[in-house]
């Protein structure tokens, strides 16, 4: 840790250039409403602020500086132009409640995005308002619930989720008041169809599925699964986190899904920002369309023949599950996705899937050749694949975590670790289409070198990382247990000394 901005604070320092002149009018607020002591905020000069945060930024890995084969997370190149154009003053300065007449540029762009997402997913309607994948899931599952309820079908209390599913799936189902029922995976990495058949029933509200799954394989029997669930009266929800593996090749709507969320910060290359903001638009088939979350952009043709874009409200969508965000979701992020889609178009989108898949399969081939154990060696990798370091763990006493930490020293972000949890000592590797073959080769070489180290100097691995190549990168493996046992969550004056 570098000193905090609070350590640099000195009473009386200020940046007058950022504070308005003192107001002439004396404050007319009754005493009882006022704060007695100023809040703990740092008092630092502008240069100090710039220097502190610039130096902090350098202490990060990021796509702009490192290869980030983080499975499920899709850390690909975020085109700078999308950021620059979404940051145009005309977009940034518009108030969410400004008149629609003063926002036809942004509304048209959002409307077009809705249309593009419909086409890409094979769905009939889209709402852009969810602010991340998890909120998109919430919207989807809440719509499923609203649908059943609208039919008086109140007995459906269970949501089916494969055991390999991402944690947000069961968590979402629970937030929507459902009991979660896990469906096991078979040895080939597919959902166990028999188990699914057994699990469905009149209590089944639906199934949440990721396809390609979080195991890095395509659920080959997806149509069968859809049939089973639909026959039981349930609906299918598509977790779009892996949509980037199949864009332009196969569409959730065609596979039989009733609702889908998109992860624009995965599939459509908006930057992840160290933890957001993302956006998680939802698309639905006709059955769920009346329940879409608000607001949604609509297009009308005016008397003068001109197109007019406006927000739909409760009046237009009376059965809507309601609002999920204060205004209209993460508009700025949606603009980035719109721009990205505009730039790559239909062919480009298909290429994304192709080259994400090529890169994953190539890397899998290289690692397989080098003797690493792939979780599903008989399967094609999709855009990602899993290796298990079980053997290495047993033989050398090192873990997937040790491997991951040592990769940091080589200047690579670690793959996703220990997810999905059914594969022991696993790493979920997603190279993305924007990385070069050289980078994949260097990564494979690093993996091989680390395994050699595991054999020769296991102690070194247990201590990794030893020297992450960032300024201040001398930091060693941080103690997570200690952090949780005695939480130190905010800086305190006394802590300085």
């Amino acid at each position: 840790m570098t000193t905090t901005i609070f350590d640099a604070s000195r009473a009386g320092r200020s940046n007058r250039q950022h504070a308005p002149q003192d107001s002439q009018t004396p404050l007319d607020i009754p005493e009882r409403f006022l704060r007695k002591t100023p809040p703990l905020l740092p008092q630092v000069g502008e240069l100090q602020v710039v220097r502190h945060f610039t130096l902090l930024s350098q202490m990060n890995f990021s796509v702009d500086t490192q290869f980030y084969p983080l499975g499920s997370c899709t850390m690909k190149y975020n085109p700078r132009i999308c950021h620059v154009l979404a940051s145009l003053p005309g977009f940034l300065n518009r108030h969410p409640l400004a008149t629609e007449g003063s926002g036809q540029g942004v509304l048209r762009s959002l409307y077009e995005l809705q249309e593009m997402l419909q086409e890409i997913s094979g769905m009939q309607a889209v709402s852009l308002t969810p602010m991340a994948g998890a909120q998109g899931e919430f919207a989807g599952v809440a719509m499923i619930r609203a649908y059943h309820r609208s039919r008086g079908d109140e007995g459906r209390t269970e949501m089916l989720v494969p055991d390999a599913a991402h944690g947000t799936n069961p968590a979402t189902a629970a937030m929507c008041g459902y009991t979660v029922r896990e469906i096991p995976t078979n040895a080939q990495g597919d959902v166990d169809l028999d188990a699914l058949q057994l699990a469905v029933g009149p209590q089944t509200a639906g199934l949440m599925l990721t396809n390609p799954s979080t195991l890095g394989v395509f659920e080959r029997a997806v149509e069968r699964m859809a049939a089973i669930v639909h026959e039981a009266g349930g609906l299918l929800y598509y977790d779009g986190a892996n949509l980037n593996a199949v864009t332009g090749w196969v569409r959730p709507g065609d596979m039989g899904f009733d609702a889908v969320h998109f992860n624009v910060h995965k599939t459509f290359a908006t930057p992840h920002g160290g933890g957001g903001p993302g956006a998680g638009p939802v698309g639905v088939g006709n059955r769920l369309a009346p329940f879409l979350p608000l607001p949604v952009v609509q297009k009308q043709i005016r008397d003068n023949g001109r197109e007019w874009f406006s927000w739909m409200s409760e009046k237009d969508l009376p059965q809507s599950i309601g609002r999920l965000s204060t205004f209209a979701g993460n508009v700025g992020i949606l603009l980035r996705a719109h721009i990205y889609l505009r730039m790559i178009g239909a062919e480009g989108l298909k290429r994304v899937a192709e080259f994400a898949t090529l890169n994953a399969n190539y890397l899998m081939a290289r690692l397989t050749e080098a003797g690493f154990a792939v979780a599903f060696p008989k399967r094609r990798a999709t855009h990602e694949f899993i290796i298990t370091l079980k053997r290495e763990a047993d033989e050398f006493g090192i873990s997937a975590l040790d491997f991951a930490k040592r990769l940091l020293d080589f200047g690579f972000h670690a793959p996703t670790m220990y997810f999905p949890s059914l594969v022991p000592e696993c790493l979920l590797i997603e190279p993305t289409e924007t990385e070069t073959k050289e980078t994949l080769d260097r990564f494979a070489d690093a993996m091989i070198a680390i395994r050699q180290e595991a054999r020769d100097y296991p102690q070194r691995l247990l201590k990794a990382p030893l020297a992450v190549p960032v300024p201040g990168g001398g930091i060693g493996r941080l103690d997570a247990t200690r952090a949780a046992r005695k939480p130190d969550l905010i800086w305190k004056e006394s802590a300085v000394l």
Binding site: M1, R13, H18, P20, D22, P30, P39, L41, V44, V49, F53, F61, S62, D64, M75, G90, F91, R94, H95, L97, A98, S102, G103, M116, G133, A134, G167, T168, A171, T172, A174, M175, V180, R220, G248, G274, G276, P277, G322, L324, S325, F327, G332, R342, M343, A346, L358, N361, M364, R380, K405, H413, T434, K437, G473, I475, G476, R477, A484, P487
Partner: protein
């Protein structure tokens, strides 16, 4: 190929290594009948063409003076904020799971938590939620969890932002939580203590207290907090963080303080951007910590005793606890918090207080200028801060549309959410407005009020 670096020689080598002849083969596990025809999207544009297109659209939306607040506020954001926050190392990093390679983001979040806890006078803060509305939703869920012996009933005044209430409704409806709306005093524009009387002894789980409320009116937060604490209810303070440079923080309301503070962080460095991205913040007292949703950063040590930051208390979260997590939230609003930390660092405690005071002064001045116009008056009598409801002598929709055509976003039409306030608009003038801007508004309003409807 745009954003794909492969050369044809490399593609061949790679296919060779995989042992297939074409990329198509890699998709062989996708059943043939599922293959879709080419997507019908508009043809790809180069960077130059898309730039021109988007610039035209942005220009079309640009200009005009904004006097709307209603949950999103136009503030001056120092240039350094986004110059630094949008550095690639912040912008293109993932959630800092690999702590040793993410100390930059982690430390910023730790500083963020400190600032938010400081502003609200709470013990802890998470590292952001999506926005203010969904943040309130999470606060309500958290309060209900934290108060298992009480009924799943939460009181929310009608003086809370109507959109927030809608989001809370959406987020809680399937969990058997009853949200009860508390009316506001139609004269003062704030919750009268007596409106709560009927809930005495009803073991309500929580009370939400907005400060300032949606109308800019200051609620009697001490009184309300004390009432709720006496009832054993969790107190959720819903606040605009910018105003906390001056206003009493939730942690100090009443005898014991609120238990949870939440709100939208937009005024701290997020551009208006048609509604997002902003960020929600959520702070709480120590005892509620393990009920907190969202990511939390903590300080710890490496084996040689060097201190560093790490995501902590993850047992609350979906990736560990799955269906029993405190929330399904995963990705939140990271980069907006980076901007907030830089913004607050540049302003400091004094700067923040000055901005808040100036926003208030500007709004007061605007209220004075506008209420000097015959027929225009304040809707409520309660003391207000930095935002105010005005009653107009003509239909508000038409007036606002006319103002808009003349380059003024004149306010929010309260009739949209409150049938009884059909004659009122909610206005706000932040520190960004000059004396001339205020005069321009007043003059234009005079004109708009006098012009024939048909114009």
């Amino acid at each position: 190929m745009p954003f794909i670096p492969h050369t044809s020689a490399e593609i061949d080598e790679m296919l060779n290594k995989i042992g297939v002849l074409s990329i198509e083969t890699l998709f062989e596990e996708v059943p043939d009948r599922l293959h879709c025809p080419p997507l019908d999207l508009s043809p790809p544009l180069g960077e130059m063409a898309v730039s021109r297109l988007m610039r035209e659209r942005a220009d079309a939306d640009a200009g005009g003076l904004c006097f709307i607040g209603a949950g999103a506020y136009e503030h001056h954001i120092p240039a350094a904020v986004w110059e630094i926050a949008s550095r690639g190392e912040f912008l293109t990093a993932y959630t800092p799971y690999q702590a040793e390679a993410s100390q930059g983001t982690l430390q910023v979040l730790y500083e963020f938590q400190t600032m938010m806890a400081g502003l609200t006078a709470m013990d802890a803060s998470n590292a952001s939620l999506y926005d203010g509305g969904s943040g309130l939703g999470e606060a309500v869920l958290m309060a209900v969890r934290a108060n298992p012996d009480h009924n799943k009933v939460v009181l929310i005044p009608a003086s809370v932002h109507p959109h927030y209430r809608q989001v809370v409704e959406t987020m809680t409806q399937d969990q058997g939580i009853e949200i009860i709306e508390i009316p506001f005093d139609p004269v003062e524009g704030r919750v009268a203590l007596k409106s709560l009387a009927s809930f005495r002894g009803k073991k309500v789980a929580a009370l939400v207290i907005p400060q300032p409320n949606f109308f800019g009116i200051l609620e009697e937060v001490d009184e309300l907090t004390d009432w709720a604490k006496a009832e054993g209810a969790v107190v959720i303070g819903l606040v605009n963080p910018l105003t906390l440079g001056l206003l009493k923080p939730p942690g100090e309301w009443g005898e014991e303080g609120a238990d949870i503070a939440c709100g939208d962080g937009q005024p701290l460095g997020s551009p208006l951007s048609s509604g997002g991205p902003y960020f929600g913040f959520l702070c709480c007292k120590q005892k509620l910590l393990r009920q907190m949703p969202g990511r939390i950063v903590g300080r710890t040590e490496d084996p040689s005793g060097r201190s560093g930051m790490i995501l902590t208390l993850q047992a609350r979260e979906q990736h560990i606890r799955r269906s029993r997590a405190t929330s399904n939230i995963c990705t939140s609003q990271g980069i907006m918090t980076v901007a907030a930390v830089i913004h607050l660092s540049l302003l400091g405690p004094e700067g923040l207080a000055k901005v808040a005071a100036m926003c208030h002064a500007k709004t007061v001045a605007l209220v004075n200028k506008l209420t000097a116009i015959p027929g225009v008056s304040r809707q409520f009598t309660g003391p207000f801060f930095h935002e105010a409801a005005l009653r107009l002598p003509k239909p508000t929709a038409a007036i606002l549309a006319q103002l808009s055509r003349l380059g003024i976003q004149g306010g929010y039409r309260l009739g949209e959410a409150y049938a009884k306030l059909d004659k009122a608009i909610l206005i706000c003038a932040t520190e960004t407005k000059t004396e001339e801007d205020l005069d321009f508004y007043a003059d234009t309003l005079v004109w708009a009020l006098n012009v024939k409807e048909s114009f």
